[in-house]
Symmetry: C2
Subunit: 255 residues, 2 copies
């Protein structure tokens, strides 16, 4: 039954892709640096430009490089971001595989525990950063409601960042980003000033718990804030959202 392994040879473009990826992993090219132009790579690999371009496209899609045109044109090694994960979630949303309830449910897995960890291990500098976000959100809440909401989203990501676990950061970024986008797409009506203020107040409570290094309180405040957020958006969006309050969220809706 066990035949000869790996009979099929990979595509040329995949070999090129793998070679370049290896160079990036080995730090032959470091983040920010430019990798050779397409024509130069044609010389080095002795393949056609089409093949080179396919390899570069794949690397770009994986988030390993960014390709610029015009000014300082070329392919540059980039720091990895959560963009590919976010795109994956967005596709799941558009295909109807996930909705609000899944997103909030997932956030309930991650963020309360992240806040718990953050409270335990936060530095003074991180506290100042969070406080700064809060103040900026409050400052713009009157004029630019949308801007305040964007800052509010970043608050959650910054809390996750304190965990110093890139996986948690990436997941939080992707889920909150997808959540935020979905909210904006479906709720045509703006939140009123009071709702935004309520979110900011709840963030402040979370921050207070983190400052006090009270991890249990940070956990609980975050959990309740997420549920409150969900209920608020449900109310704003109307019935179409109400039905999404399924067993997952109800499990945490003991208020």
């Amino acid at each position: 039954m066990e035949g000869f392994p790996s009979l099929k040879k990979p595509l040329l473009s995949q070999e090129v892709e793998h070679a370049i990826k290896q160079s990036i992993h080995d730090e032959v090219f470091k983040p920010g640096e430019k990798i050779p132009s397409e024509r130069e790579l044609v010389e080095q690999f002795q393949v056609s430009r089409v093949t080179i371009r396919e390899a570069l496209r794949n690397l770009q899609r994986s988030g390993l490089i960014t390709i610029r045109r015009g000014v300082r044109a070329g392919a540059y090694v980039s720091e990895l971001t959560s963009d590919p994960i976010t795109e994956n979630f967005q596709n799941l949303i558009h295909l109807g595989r996930i909705d609000y309830s899944h997103l909030i449910d997932a956030r309930l897995y991650i963020e309360p525990r992240a806040a718990e960890m953050a409270a335990k291990y936060r530095s003074d500098k991180e506290v100042r950063h969070l406080r700064g976000l809060l103040e900026r959100a409050e400052a713009v809440a009157d004029q630019n409601c949308k801007r305040a909401r964007i800052i509010n989203v970043s608050f959650h990501c910054e809390v996750a960042r304190i965990t110093q676990n890139p996986i948690i950061v990436f997941i939080t970024e992707s889920i909150t980003q997808s959540y935020s986008t979905l909210i904006i797409e479906t709720t045509s009506t703006q939140l009123n000033r009071g709702d935004v203020q309520k979110f900011i107040d709840e963030h402040r409570e979370i921050l207070d718990a983190i400052i006090k290094q009270n991890s249990a309180e940070a956990y609980e405040k975050t959990r309740r804030h997420l549920i409150e957020t969900y209920l608020t958006y449900s109310r704003v969006a109307g019935a179409s959202l109400e039905k999404d309050i399924d067993r997952r969220i109800r499990h945490d809706c003991d208020l």
Copy 2:
């Protein structure tokens, strides 16, 4: 500062990509179905084949389509998988941004709670499925240790699947997959029969809790199992892994 937004027109290939993606979202092409061949798309979009191919490549990388060669060659709409997320994590690993401790830490966020939910809402069919996995793992543990380990990994994913939240499923798949790959890459020595049996026994305890619908116990058993797994691999891999037991894991290492 705020100029005219979106002056730069998107690339042709991106427009084509977006159009096809829209068709998939609108279920013009459903999963499993074939989308027109490159030459046909050239006709429809009135662009060159290069452009079409770049669009298709991007869609493939996003996991929306799979491209086959030979007979029945062409691009087929595929169900979304966790592969893009997994690749992202793998890149983070190779770039040295994350290690064992981050992966186990992330699993401690997700899996205990997933088991908790699974215990609460599992069906009899799902229980049978998990039991089947356990029996198969035990059956092959003597002859094929590696195969047993693969089945053990899938046990965790199947527990996550019971939550019926694709986000949780995808994240669990990606993290356990990356974890497993990393283990295989770094620990040259095989686990001994006893270790594998221990994992299976712990899985059985988790399953028992799920069967009893004792969610608190399912949570705790899963948490302890993850820590045990981590410690076992630490021991097998030797000192190079020991130092990775950092504050994150210690937080849960109250045994």
